[in-house]
Symmetry: C2
């Protein structure tokens, strides 16, 4: 069992998990509190097995976890992973806004040194293919 899914893999799974409307509704429901598979399956027209698989996907993505209560296995939300997603998005969203600001400055005639964002030809450093924009 691979237990160290290279936080990159974690992001993959988390985004993919939320790409499905059924799974998003499950998350929405769980945000109001834990629920069993049967409860979660009720609003949908698909089988319980299908919902069980959806929950497995969410669990494998670190978005939910399951405990035990008699025969039931209540599912509950894991907020941390949701935060990881917003963290990823916000990083690039903020950088983008920053660029807008420097573009603003450029148009205003003020050459703001520091960020080399306004370069018309982005320096194509092939080695810096990392996902992290050196924060």
């Amino acid at each position: 069992m691979i237990v160290d899914p290279s936080s990159d893999d974690r992001l993959d799974r988390a985004f993919m998990a939320l790409a499905d409307p059924v799974r998003r509704r499950i998350v929405a429901r769980l945000s109001r509190g834990p629920a069993t598979v049967n409860e979660l399956a009720e609003p949908f027209q698909i089988t319980k097995q299908a919902v069980s698989k959806h929950i497995q996907v969410l669990e494998h993505a670190g978005l939910v976890s399951r405990t035990r209560d008699a025969q039931r296995r209540p599912v509950h939300l894991e907020a941390a992973q949701l935060e990881a997603l917003t963290a990823w998005i916000d990083r690039y969203r903020l950088i983008h806004e920053q660029q807008f600001r420097s573009l603003d400055a450029l148009l205003a005639g003020t050459t703001t040194s520091g960020t080399d964002a306004a370069s018309p030809e982005p320096g194509q450093s092939a080695g810096t293919a990392q996902e992290e924009p050196e924060s």
Copy 2:
């Protein structure tokens, strides 16, 4: 331009688009400024055609858009859609935190009115979401 595929579909596509590490790296790169398909393809070991398809996926998700510059079609980031994603996530993340707080209060003996009476209505008046599991 058909830009009204039931904003639910939009979320589907946007989350799925970011589920792929290649596409996430493309977004990361575009956060530094526009780039052409060739430039975007360089860091990867896959063909240009494959990258072109990735960009189509991102474009169809509303995450990027393309303009024209001679033979080139520069791709640039669309911040709005990124914000839509964080908006979706934050809604449920905040609800969850709110629940934790009321649970905290409960364990502390401070009966803050009802158990689950914490009005779960952070921002769902956005109108775009029928994804709420009606309480």
